[in-house]
Subunit: 102 residues, 2 copies
DNA sequence: CACCTGAATAACGAGTTAGTTATAGAGATA
DNA sequence: TATCTCTATAACTAACTCGTTATTCAGGTG
């Protein structure tokens, strides 16, 4: 019947906070301070900056990132004690195709 | 920031039941029994048939339809004591465009 | 007008989400 | 090894979702 992965991805999207995060991750350099360790283009934005910008507690931000991660919409790269997040464009494209069939 | 209408539409979509309903409404004639009063093409499917096919209680089905209606994704037509539902294709298309920008 | 039927609402319970603070865990550095 | 910092998890609360049954509302029919 309906793909459970699609439902999970839609639930992940159906949040202003998480839509905002994905929007920021389109352009990490433009939306976050310069970061020393991870390349913002290759590995994405540092989780600390995302947390700060979200304006919620660190655990709340952590859970939002986990929802996006579990839905496959972002990719996490741990590096030098930090975690960097970037968009999973192929998964996002797949979701867009599925929505286009609605 | 993020459009509240987009969030509402995504929340409406993020349900296997409601995705299923929208799928059925693509082809009312193919998915529901013939109905005497409302033209299935013009006005959509009779709410009773949707309720039956969903396999949940009448109030549960009623709430699902209300979520879709409040999100603007379907159009309701009361007629001869029944309510007929059809897809709001222009709203659905708008949603698809918004998702394409994610 | 009275009745009948379909749809909507009320009221409840279980499960989930989203926030909090506090704590544990893991990795890098000194 | 010891420490320090960032991330993840635990525990709790408030609010929302989704199902139920019971009831009310409203239109159409006799």
């Amino acid at each position: 019947m309906t793909d459970p992965a699609l439902e999970r991805a839609l639930k992940a999207l159906a949040s202003a906070r998480r839509l905002q995060i994905l929007e920021w991750l389109k352009d990490p350099v433009g939306h976050f301070p310069p970061q020393e360790h991870g390349d913002p283009i290759e590995h994405g934005a540092c989780n600390m900056y995302i947390t700060d910008k979200l304006g919620v507690s660190q655990p709340a931000a952590s859970r939002h990132m986990k929802v996006l991660l579990d839905a496959g919409l972002v990719i996490a790269t741990p590096r030098a004690g930090y975690v960097y997040y970037r968009r999973n464009e192929s998964a996002i494209d797949r979701l867009k195709e599925d929505v286009a069939d609605v």
